[in-house]
């Protein structure tokens, strides 16, 4: 007896589910920064490994799309390779590593260094969508706080950081206020990337599979990282240039090179790094 052949729908999810997610997305876009509940489905990777992002991508991807997937900024990390292979298999769409060639960029933790353009969609994999979660674990409470625009607790946390450490001790998932109304977690992107969300030309959509929430920042929307007049928001920055391509003003990864604590710093955005290095090589060859 041979095993029954199982065939999957294009894009993996069934059509009703895709429609449900698109409807949720419309609401999310209409109310920037507001977390819209959705009936998250099981997808063939563990919850918390980007199932929200995978569902969003599956719901919006079409045959005209070109998909880029990054994890920690890089196209070549195992999770990124794995998700790209998945959509190549179940959606049959072309994939790319070049930021400007992509129509959809699914990401975990980074916004590409190359500026995003009109028509591009950033899909974020979000583990904890609730910016107030670590201050108040109960969803019933945090929803009330959002409804009442009551964000004092977050300001108190930032104030306590300043009192204790001398500055705000939030390095990633730095809270932002979207369109002057909703407090939003930009997923675990480093605070370095927060300014890229403000008045972006691209659409940013966030999917939290475990937590069953979708939210969005439409293009040309104000996104303000929280701070105080005397202690304004300061994104992280790096003093040294990338050891491979020489870029400055980019986010760097620490790479440990020996057992004695030696390390080098290189771009976390592998696409940006490769192209900057190649351009430098070309220029050198031309002269």
């Amino acid at each position: 007896m041979s095993a029954q052949q199982i065939e999957y729908n294009i894009g993996y999810l069934d059509e009703q589910t895709k429609r449900m997610i698109r409807r949720t997305l419309l609401k999310a876009v209409a109310i920037p920064g507001f977390q819209v509940p959705f009936a998250s489905r099981e997808v063939p990777l563990p919850r918390g490994w980007g199932t929200g992002g995978v569902q969003l991508t599956a719901a919006i991807i079409g045959s005209d799309d070109v998909l880029k997937v990054i994890d920690q900024g890089a196209d070549d990390t195992t999770n990124a390779v794995s998700i790209r292979a998945f959509f190549n298999l179940v959606a049959g769409v072309p994939t790319t590593t070049r930021t400007e060639d992509a129509t959809i960029i699914q990401t975990r933790h980074r916004i590409p260094e190359t500026p995003l353009g009109e028509g591009q969609i950033m899909v974020y994999q979000v583990p904890i969508p609730e910016p107030l979660r670590f201050l108040e674990p109960r969803e019933t409470e945090t929803r009330r706080m959002h409804a009442l625009n009551e964000y004092g607790l977050m300001y108190v946390k930032l104030y306590e950081d300043i009192a204790k450490y001398g500055h705000i001790a939030k390095t990633y998932d730095y809270p932002v206020l979207v369109n002057d109304r909703y407090l939003m977690a930009p997923s675990p992107t480093p605070s370095f990337d927060n300014p890229k969300l403000h008045q972006s030309q691209a659409l940013h959509i966030f999917g939290a599979g475990c937590e069953k929430r979708i939210y969005a920042i439409p293009p040309h929307t104000d996104v303000e990282s929280l701070g105080f007049e005397d202690y304004p928001f300061e994104p992280q920055n790096f003093d040294q240039p990338c050891a491979i391509c020489g870029s400055t003003g980019v986010y760097l990864d620490q790479i440990i090179t020996d057992n004695a604590g030696g390390a080098m710093y290189a771009c976390s955005d592998s696409d940006h790094c490769e192209r900057t290095a190649a351009r430098a090589d070309n220029e050198e060859a031309a002269t």
Binding site: T77, T78, Y165, D253, I255, T257, N259
Partner: protein, 361 residues
């Protein structure tokens, strides 16, 4: 005609025969052998060994078969057997830095000395019903590249709290299975309890700490799976002799830092170690270990996972299963007593109600 239920010898014998029949399945299909279970269900066998606190893959496989795949029954069986064994002493601490990893990943650095090694893992297998591709080149990559612990790399910069404070001695750890436990426990005892604890329970607790109930906010510093040598120091010999090799999974979690104006900021750690391949358990264990160290770092205890007594009193699945399942035992006598009381209370209630009505009238 009503027949009172009597637990006769015959009833028990018949129940056992029926159980054996159910477990055998279709007699036209060959029975699964112990070696097949040990070789083909290694993850299940690992769990039974870990929570059964006995490293013996063949025996664990036998327990799984005997219990028709009921993990908790298999663990009970292994543990019950274990208590019958004489104890000669305790092995030397195993050296996990020296193990040749079959798998080693770190989520904290993109590259580390010795490299990352994916090894045998379900990670990145798309959970699709498709024919597995098992014929690819298998490079176990067990080269003799030294792989220092990631926690030691961070520790050399003092970014991570040391294994133990410099002024702290390392007393012989108590043996949870031989000595009565009294709260509060030492960390060593707690780790023993967690290692024996139920994977599902620890998973849920670990998950709760990640979601904000006693926030521990970790990074997986390192997860490694491989074989280590176990050595035993027999006093009459005066030097440790190797007993053999066991497979273990170790997890070091790096957690949010502590520090204030007096002490510089440092990451803290949580630790997990289990027999065989059991990453989920080792990770859960290290999350809960860190949560339970709340006292050490003067953290407020606000969540279940931070409550030592709560966690360790309920983590043991053999205990929990036994106590929950004891409800199946006859309770005729105590129930009769309760029935008697409730009838009396109801009678009193009605009598009172009756007399109230009379007064109102």
């Amino acid at each position: 005609m009503y027949v009172a239920v009597k637990g006769g010898e015959k009833a028990i014998a018949n129940a056992h025969a029926l159980l054996a029949k159910e477990g055998r399945g279709d007699p036209g299909i060959p029975a699964i052998g112990r070696d097949a279970v040990a070789g083909q269900l290694p993850v299940l066998v690992s769990r039974v060994m870990t929570e059964g606190s006995l490293y013996d893959p063949k025996l664990a496989a036998r327990a799984v078969l005997r219990c028709q795949g009921d993990v908790l029954e298999a663990i009970t069986l292994v543990r019950s057997y274990r208590t019958t064994l004489p104890r000669f002493g305790y092995s030397e601490p195993i050296d996990t830095a020296g193990l040749a990893p079959q798998r080693r990943v770190s989520a904290t650095f993109k590259d580390i000395p010795g490299g990352q090694q994916l090894g045998a893992t379900f990670d990145y297998t798309h959970r699709l019903f498709a024919d597995p591709t098992s014929d690819g080149p298998v490079d176990t990559g067990a080269d003799a590249v030294p792989m220092p612990r990631v926690s030691d790399l961070l520790g050399s910069d003092a970014l991570l709290e040391p294994d133990r404070a410099a002024d702290r001695t390392d007393p012989e750890p108590a043996d949870l299975t031989r000595e009565p436990t009294v709260f509060p426990m030492t960390r060593a005892e707690r780790l023993q309890g967690l290692a024996r604890g139920d994977e599902g329970f620890l998973l849920a607790l670990g998950y709760s700490t990640q979601r904000g109930y006693g926030s521990t906010h970790p990074f997986a510093g390192e997860i490694r799976v491989g074989e280590v040598e176990v050595e035993f120091d027999a006093p009459e010999l005066g030097f440790p002799v190797p007993l053999g090799r066991i497979e273990v999974t170790e997890c070091q979690m790096i957690n949010q830092f502590t520090g204030n104006s007096d002490t510089p900021a440092q990451f803290t750690r949580g630790y997990g170690l289990v027999f065989g391949r059991g990453e989920r358990k080792a990770m859960s264990m290290s999350l809960v270990d860190r949560a339970l160290r709340a006292d050490e770092f003067q953290e407020r205890i606000v969540a279940p996972a931070q409550d030592e007594e709560f966690v360790l009193s309920h983590a043991d699945n053999v205990q929990a299963a036994g106590f929950v399942e004891h409800l199946k035992l006859p309770h005729y006598v105590d129930f009769q007593a309760e029935l008697h009381l409730i009838r009396r209370l109801r009678r009193d209630f009605h009598d009172n109600a009756g007399s109230k009505q009379e007064t109102n009238a």
